[in-house]
């Protein structure tokens, strides 16, 4: 036992010297390749995040040195009755509402379209995919301008075609519906391409075997298609959820947060606080952004744990 221990220790010591070199060598070799990304990620990712974290504990109007405020920004956000408490929780509720409806929409609709387009012998599938993908390449602002005209209550295409008198942008639930339509229109393409790619990788023998066993299309979809593409599904769910929590452009352009701030989402007020028409409240804005980040992180961790468990 003692001999073994001595031998292990000697190997370990000898190995330690060697390991340092060996460990450095691959890093030095890899560094030039990863350096551009690493530097960009550090400059535009890590440093701003760390700085933002620090700012959230301060009062800062973007000039001079931030004044340390400890947890005061968070206290104001969490104290019922304060303006910042009202803003944060109202906006968070609106953001959650958007996430809860928009994420399933942006997962299910592209998935069903992908299954349809992957049907054997279907002609023009590539063309349809391209048509559905193009809105994702158009800026939200430009898309929203067109959709605002479509939904205009006086001369919009929908009201004039169907002889309706709906105030789409100025009343609920229509205001939210216009935002979901824009988000879905812009968001279908990205997930659709991922699902089509995943579906084309599913072993066709599985489908043939299921058909031989008498399984119908619904059973095949739930028992073969979904389990086979679960990894891309998890990936798109996480990415779509993160994107939905960061919603800003759609409500800003379509309804500007109205009516009565019912579509005002968190990022809109974070931006308004950081860059208002007066002195900035960057510390408070950072505190709200940090809380949003924590919520996002918790949700992402849950999703990843769930994904690994399933895997």
């Amino acid at each position: 036992m003692g001999i073994i221990n001595e031998s292990v220790t000697a190997d370990h010591v000898a190995g330690k010297r060697k390991t340092l070199d060996e460990r450095l060598h691959p890093f030095m070799h890899a560094f030039p390749y990863i350096a551009p990304h690493l530097i960009i990620f550090a400059v535009f990712g890590i440093i701003p995040i760390v700085f933002g974290l620090y700012i959230s504990f301060t009062r800062w109007n973007l000039i001079g040195s931030p004044k340390w405020a400890g947890l005061d920004n968070f206290r104001l956000i969490m104290t019922p009755g304060t303006y910042f408490n009202k803003v944060f929780f109202k906006d968070l509720w609106n953001t959650l509402l958007f996430v809860v409806i928009n994420v399933p929409l942006c997962i299910v609709v592209p998935l069903l379209l992908a299954v349809l387009l992957n049907k054997k012998g279907l002609k023009g599938a590539g063309l349809f995919q391209a048509i559905l993908y193009i809105p994702g390449l158009i800026s939200v602002a430009a898309g929203a301008l067109v959709w605002k005209m479509v939904f205009n209550s006086q001369y919009g295409m929908i009201n004039t075609t169907f002889h309706l008198q709906v105030n789409w942008l100025g009343e609920q639930p229509w205001a939210w519906i216009t935002i979901f339509v824009l988000s879905l229109w812009a968001g279908i393409g990205g997930n659709l391409v991922i699902y089509r790619s995943a579906l084309s990788g599913v072993d066709q023998n599985l489908y043939e075997a299921a058909q031989v066993d008498g399984a119908g299309p619904v059973r095949i979809f739930f028992s073969i298609t979904l389990p086979e593409i679960r990894l891309p599904l998890f990936y798109t769910t996480i990415m779509t959820t993160v994107g939905a929590f960061n919603v800003w452009g759609q409500p800003l352009m379509m309804t500007n947060g109205g009516p009565a701030q019912s579509t005002q989402v968190l990022l809109m007020d974070i931006k308004n606080l950081a860059f208002p028409a007066g002195p900035s409240a960057a510390g408070m804005a950072s505190a709200m952004a940090l809380l949003l980040g924590i919520i996002l992180m918790i949700l992402s961790i849950i999703q990843i744990v769930f994904m690994n468990k399933e895997d």
């Binding site: 030095m28 070799h29 030039p32 390749y33 350096a35 009062r59 800062w60 109007n61 973007l62 000039i63 001079g64 004044k67 405020a69 005061d72 304060t82 303006y83 910042f84 009202k86 803003v87 605002k148 205009n152 209550s153 006086q154 105030n167 789409w168 942008l169 100025g170 500007n256 947060g257 109205g258 009516p259 009565a260 701030q261 005002q264 308004n272 606080l273 860059f275 208002p276 028409a277 007066g278 002195p279 900035s280 409240a281 510390g283 408070m284």
Partner: protein, 418 residues
């Protein structure tokens, strides 16, 4: 072999990094490159006009050429803070509005204008509209130079006024909300009395019209100076006298669907393209009361951030350019901007322009108001809430409470930051 490759890779990486560094350094322009950097948020028609003035100025072969750098409004402020923090690449010339001028002055970031007046004495109070100069002074010291004024003013469709016999409303050049409400039942269903745009800007005039001032009114958003006109506008909306909220304000007026249109002074060019010039009348902005009528104007100011490294030659060149613009402003005036300089205000050519209405004669000049109160912008940024109140999405009480919470919350944070 592997070692040789590694060295090559590292050399390449080092060369690329050095190249990037050199490029970025050259972009910074550390040496005096004989150019003046002019930051502004003129991204519309105003940008096209100002760019023409810059081009004309550069064609005179000045020692320092001007580089016109337009960007989105908020981006100018953010970038100003960034360069102020680093102390590098501080622009020589900047345009900011009256409220932002107040914010930057309060933060002690601005150079006094006397630094420019040394080289161009004509950049002084005597040569500008007094109200506009008052708005760049803080404690008797000027920290900005007025460039132009702008606001929502009341246009009217001459044909519709005649058709519906509404001359009596315009007899005193003052249109009150009460008079708008008096049009209930006098207009056909598809013609609105008022196409209402940019309400918070109009609200400034309504506050001053009732004897209020922004520095006090911002701290009491539930006060009568805000409440009374909003209650009347709510009534106007209930009476079907206002355009629906999602109808384009300019289009509604230009297409003859509204008798009056609250549009910007800067909209005159677009209006004249959209409808017969002779059909457009212009008068003072909407008032609450016919007593003490006021036109609250925003203004764009020249400002200079403090920069210890700015040379005297550069300072002189900046003053020269500002003076050139002051004496060559007609290009901008033609797109609807109200000139702040006496050169234009006294010129027959300028007096033919519609916006000269607001600065011609002592009576009109006495109606002008402006403010550089640093928190003034907070009250004007809540466009959605003002509209929610008028269009009935929230009650007047709830809407004003929201405005009060919002402005006071932001002011409270600022006061705790000091």
């Amino acid at each position: 072999m592997a070692l040789v490759n590694m060295r090559k890779i590292w050399k390449l990486a080092a060369a690329a990094a050095a190249g990037a560094l050199v490029l970025s350094m050259s972009a910074c322009g550390t040496a005096d490159d004989k150019t003046l950097h002019f930051w502004n948020s003129m991204t519309g028609n105003d940008g096209v006009a100002m760019q023409q003035i810059v081009k004309d100025y550069n064609a005179t072969n000045p020692e320092y050429k001007v580089v016109f750098q337009p960007m989105q409004g908020g981006d100018v402020t953010t970038k100003l803070y960034s360069v102020e923090q680093t102390g590098k690449n501080i622009p020589d010339l900047v345009i900011q509005d009256n409220f932002q001028t107040g914010v930057l002055q309060d933060q002690k970031l601005l150079s006094p204008i006397k630094d420019l007046q040394k080289y161009q004495p004509s950049l002084s109070k005597d040569n500008y509209l007094p109200t506009s100069w008052d708005a760049v002074e803080f404690g008797g010291e000027a920290y900005g130079i007025p460039l132009y004024l702008y606001q929502m003013v009341l246009y009217y469709n001459k044909d519709l006024v005649k058709k519906y016999n509404l001359d009596y409303i315009l007899d005193d050049d003052v249109v009150t909300i009460d008079e708008i409400n008096g049009l209930k039942g006098k207009l056909p269903k598809d013609v609105y009395a008022l196409s209402l745009g940019n309400l918070p800007w109009v609200a400034m005039s309504l506050v001053y019209n009732q004897g209020g001032t922004l520095d006090k009114a911002v701290h009491d958003m539930k006060g009568d100076v805000w409440r009374k006109p909003l209650e009347q506008l709510v009534e106007a909306n209930k009476n079907g006298l206002l355009n629906p909220i999602d109808m384009d304000v300019l289009q509604t007026f230009a297409s003859g669907k509204a008798v009056f249109g609250l549009l910007g002074t800067f909209d005159v060019g677009t209006l004249e393209e959209a409808m017969d010039k002779d059909k457009i009348g212009v008068t003072n902005t909407l008032q609450y009361s016919a007593d003490n009528p006021t036109n609250f104007f925003w203004q764009a100011n020249w400002i200079q951030l403090k920069d210890p490294s700015r040379s005297e030659a550069r300072e002189k060149a900046s003053a020269d350019f500002i003076e050139y613009v002051r004496t060559h402003f007609m290009t901008m005036a033609k797109i609807g901007q109200v000139s702040a300089s006496n050169v234009d205000l006294d010129s027959p050519e300028y007096q033919k322009l519609p916006q000269s209405y607001f600065t011609t004669g002592d009576k009109e000049r006495a109606m002008l108001r402006s403010s550089n109160y640093m928190y003034g912008g907070y009250a004007t940024s809540a466009w959605g809430t003002f509209n929610d109140i008028v269009y009935g999405n929230v009650t007047v009480d709830d809407g004003l409470q929201l405005l009060q919470d919002q402005t006071q919350g932001q002011i409270q944070i600022q006061e705790q930051s000091e």
